[in-house]
């Protein structure tokens, strides 16, 4: 309040007017010296990086533990290596899944301007399920049974991307495109896709159904080894894309009006983001089945611990936190409670409770 009544200092603004030409250096020497430092806030930056480093180290520790802990075979023997290789697949699966869920949830939150919904609530996994089922339905089991090669991964990704673009493009078009309506339609479509997929599955022959089920629901201990490298490759490609867009995500998070004011094609960016989310979720779903709340926990905690809300910090923090959480809980559940099969279920449960508490504590939505 006192700020305004204080004699304003018009001098500086007047001396260095807002023109695009570089401001005269002499006008505000002391400001120039402090400005970049204050804006970057080295403390926050250091804290953020420090936390990422800790998370990274934890991830490595858990990964190594998972690989070598309690290997019944003699070190260096044939069996030892075979077990190691199998476990490496598990670790790889976990890393890919955690990355997909974490990144997808964060950018989904950003694009939809909310922090309580998760991609799977909007039926992204149902979308994957219905596309896979439709493939078998139309082309027979052969469409999926063929070994995973580059062409197949490309074709499937292309179908997924094409369909998601059409769907979200349509949902988000129109002069009254409204985010909440779109979300609700997405949710209902998700439920509809679920029904449709189940319905089509009922019409399949048992052998086709078998092939499909194997494709639709992997699990962590026994995921599709041949698909893993492709999934990882997809993650790298999508990850690079997302990283290059990190500043744009910061702007999208400010909402439509502000984003448009700042020169972003908001609608196109949101649609692109949703398509990216669809791809990430389909990778994750194909490996471990649907997950609703894992991404929610990871994203929510990341917003808290990454200090800065910039995507340059939030995204890596979320990805690392996801990997640590998933590796850690897998390790604990497998080697302490001998309940490896329950990993996703327990994580979902914990995430669900976390969501409930979060909702009850939150003041407004």
């Amino acid at each position: 309040m006192t700020l305004v009544s204080k004699t304003p200092a018009p001098a500086r603004g007047a001396q260095a007017p807002f023109v695009s030409a570089p401001a005269t250096a002499s006008s505000a020497p002391e400001l120039q010296a402090t400005a970049p430092a204050r804006a970057f806030d080295p403390d926050q930056r250091r804290k953020g990086l420090w936390r990422m480093a800790v998370l990274g180290a934890l991830a490595v520790v858990f990964a190594v533990l998972l690989l070598v802990y309690d290997n019944p075979m003699e070190v260096g023997s044939d069996g030892f290596w075979r077990i190691l290789q199998m476990r490496a697949t598990t670790v790889g699966t976990i890393v890919v899944v955690a990355f997909c869920q974490a990144v997808a949830t964060v950018i989904f939150h950003t694009a939809t301007g909310n922090r309580i919904l998760t991609p799977s609530i909007m039926g992204f996994d149902a979308l994957y399920r219905v596309i896979q089922t439709a493939l078998v339905f139309v082309f027979g089991a052969g469409a999926l049974a063929a070994t995973d090669g580059l062409p197949k991964v490309l074709v499937q990704s292309a179908i997924m991307i094409g369909f998601a673009t059409l769907l979200y493009g349509w949902l988000f078009s129109g002069r009254f495109a409204n985010l909440h309506i779109m979300l609700l339609i997405g949710v209902v479509l998700g439920a509809g896709f679920g029904s449709l997929a189940t319905f089509m599955q009922r019409l399949l022959t048992p052998s086709e159904f078998d092939v499909l089920t194997a494709r639709l629901f992997g699990n962590m201990s026994n995921s599709n080894e041949a698909y893993l490298p492709w999934a990882a490759l997809l993650c790298v490609v999508v990850g690079t894309l997302v990283w290059r867009k990190r500043h744009q995500f910061d702007v999208i998070a400010l909402g439509r009006d502000t984003a448009v004011n700042l020169g972003l094609n908001h609608r196109a960016e949101v649609i692109k983001t949703l398509v990216i989310v669809a791809v990430l979720i389909s990778v994750s779903t194909s490996m471990v089945g649907p997950m609703t709340f894992f991404g929610f926990i990871v994203a929510t905690i990341s917003y808290q611990i990454s200090k800065s809300q910039k995507h340059a910090y939030v995204l890596p923090t979320a990805a690392l936190l996801g990997v640590v959480t998933l590796l850690g809980s897998y390790f604990i559940l497998r080697h302490v409670f001998y309940a490896a099969g329950l990993v996703t279920v327990i994580i979902e449960l914990a995430g669900g409770l976390f969501f409930l508490i979060y909702l009850l504590r939150k003041g407004s939505l």
Binding site: M1, L3, V4, S5, K6, P8, A9, P10, R12, G13, A14, A16, P17, F18, V19, S20, P22, A23, A28, L31, Q32, A35, P36, R38, A39, H109, G113, N114, R115, R175, R246, H247, Q248, D250, V251, A253, L254, G255, R256, D257, T258, V260, N261, L262, G263, L264, N265, Y303, Q309
Partner: protein, 252 residues
Amino acid sequence: MIEVRGVHKAYSGKTVLGPVDATIPSGGITALVGPNGAGKSTMLTIIGRLLEADAGTVHVGGLDVRKADSRTLARTMSILRQENHFVTRLTVRQLVGFGRFPHSGGRLTKHDHEMVNQALEFLDLNDLADRFLDQLSGGQRQRAYVAMVLAQDTDYLLLDEPLNNLDMQHAVAMMKQLRRAADELGKTIVIVVHDINYAAAYADRIIALREGQVVHMGTPAEIMTSAVLSEVFSTNIKVLDSEPYPLAVYYR
């Protein structure tokens, strides 16, 4: 110069604006006034390309707002609406920093930081720069948003009811700051204001709208007459010929 040609907007068949023609010359403050539902905000948001018109064209600084590259536009014109909700937790400085996005694409240069500092200074936000937006009062937040669009360093500034949420003291300070931005920085500022007296005291031009039509356009002296105002607002309004600017009285 802002040129509005044949702009028309309707919702479910009900016209809310237009067809409207208007030319707003460069420089100075232009105030859009009119009763509720007159189409002031609609016109402003169409000029600012946040809303698509059903027909007609808008040119700002020679750029067609529907066709020009959005980023180029963002370096020419900035628009601020009344409500700005988002979930990200930002400090004032970070928010103002976003004003530089059209220029730098998110990675702030030394020059960008300078512009941010100047904008903060201009709106007297230095002491609040590192506070989070959700820790501020409505009026302080309003100033932070204005600082953001100032940092955007555009020739044209469109503000939708910038005096909302502001008490008398802050409203006056805000108008003074906008006046300075127009005078010292040579900005072309278009604002929607509710209180006709603010328009009379600070604006160079007033555009009066009513039922989606531009009914009067002119200097405050031309608009501030009992006849014109009473027609625009459908209320009996007296204009006192006070110094240094006329005063509309309409309370009873």
